[in-house]
Subunit: 228 residues, 2 copies
């Protein structure tokens, strides 16, 4: 009974890794499609998003079957519940990448001055997603914490992009539509980073039994600082 | 045993309604605080968001206890799983409202020309959240579908706001920071609507056993149209 259950948990990990890989694919293709003006990459994103949605449904079904089959012990239940929560974040990541690709299809006038920030955001975000999934599969708490810390990099790039866009608007050189579209794209990248952090928080929950959100982490850090 | 379980499910509903009410509170206070330039309302939002996070943790714990206590039948498991998913969306709604309030504190130069869209978006979004929770508690599938349809209203206001902001930028009358901040606020409202739809989709899952995302709904509608 336990062997069968363990085999199914192992299969759950396999499917989560597959779903994570699809997320990395759409993140990089949507950004490269935008920056290189490559419609084929954008088409791949459009075709892959439904696959990500399908994976979410598959893994949901696996999780519910696992929960119903036998009385799972607390640790298994945490693992399965964490998986259920993580796939929602991954499905949203797929949606954000689709939204980026959708804007990318129609964007006009984009030039290379924003590539640094956007490329960096997309690469960080993709690495964070990979790291988060790996931390779940390998039950690596330190890696989960590393993912949570990486979000600062993405947020910083977003803030800098916003400042660049404010200057762009002031200079009047580029169309207002372009400025707003680029802000949206930067926002979607930032959201992908947030979702990767959420996944890492669920890994922490699966391993430790405690679900600590970013606000609580910041609050705890602040209190520790005040105690000194 | 069943009586006790039913009592606990009833308590789950009570807590979900409370969490939903906190969400409505922060949505309306963040928007009214912005539009009326009322810092006290914004302060209420700041104080309420941690309560929403706390409610999420409480309800999570209730759900895990319910799942572990006894072998729940499939219908109960769907209900509990749906609750687990819904509270994530509600916690995000709390975050979006906090983000709106955060911007509202520092925004300068806002005048009444955007009030129509922003007020309409916030009201629709708050109604959608209430409707979604009620549809769960009352197991009202039609109400869940009504919430899903309401999202078109919010999306339309967002598109119109974006067009207004493009004109604003062109006219050069307002600061670029204001334009970008207002786009972000409109985006947060749109996201709140999306989260309310997600909650309604989980209600559909709890009642019917099928989880249908918006993309799949649109795909199904398209195919039905083509069959005619």
């Amino acid at each position: 009974m336990r062997n069968r259950f363990d085999a199914q948990l192992a299969q759950l990990n396999v499917e989560l890794i597959k779903m994570g890989s699809l997320c990395e694919l759409v993140i990089s293709n949507s950004m490269n499609g935008l920056l290189e003006d490559n419609d084929e990459l954008l088409k791949i994103v459009e075709e892959t998003d439904p696959e990500i949605d399908e994976k979410e449904r598959e893994i949901e079904t696996m999780c519910f079957k696992l929960m119903l089959q036998q009385q799972p012990v607390a640790r298994d239940l945490r693992t399965i519940s964490a998986a259920l929560k993580m796939i929602t974040d991954m499905e949203r990541i797929g949606d954000q990448a689709s939204d980026i690709a959708e804007i990318a299809k129609y964007i006009e006038g984009e030039d290379s001055k924003h590539h640094t920030h956007l490329k960096a955001m997309a690469e960080s975000a993709a690495d964070m997603v990979t790291g988060a999934i790996r931390s779940f599969v390998e039950r690596d708490l330190d890696l989960a914490y590393e993912v949570m810390r990486s979000d600062d990099v993405v947020d910083r790039h977003f803030d800098e992009m916003r400042e660049d866009l404010i200057s762009m608007i002031r200079s009047g050189e580029d169309s207002p539509e372009l400025c707003l579209d680029l802000l949206m794209i930067a926002k979607y990248c930032e959201r992908i980073g947030d979702h990767a952090v959420n996944i890492a928080e669920w890994v922490e929950f699966a391993i430790t039994g405690v679900h600590i959100s970013e606000e609580l982490r910041n609050e705890n850090a602040k209190q520790k600082g005040e105690e000194r």
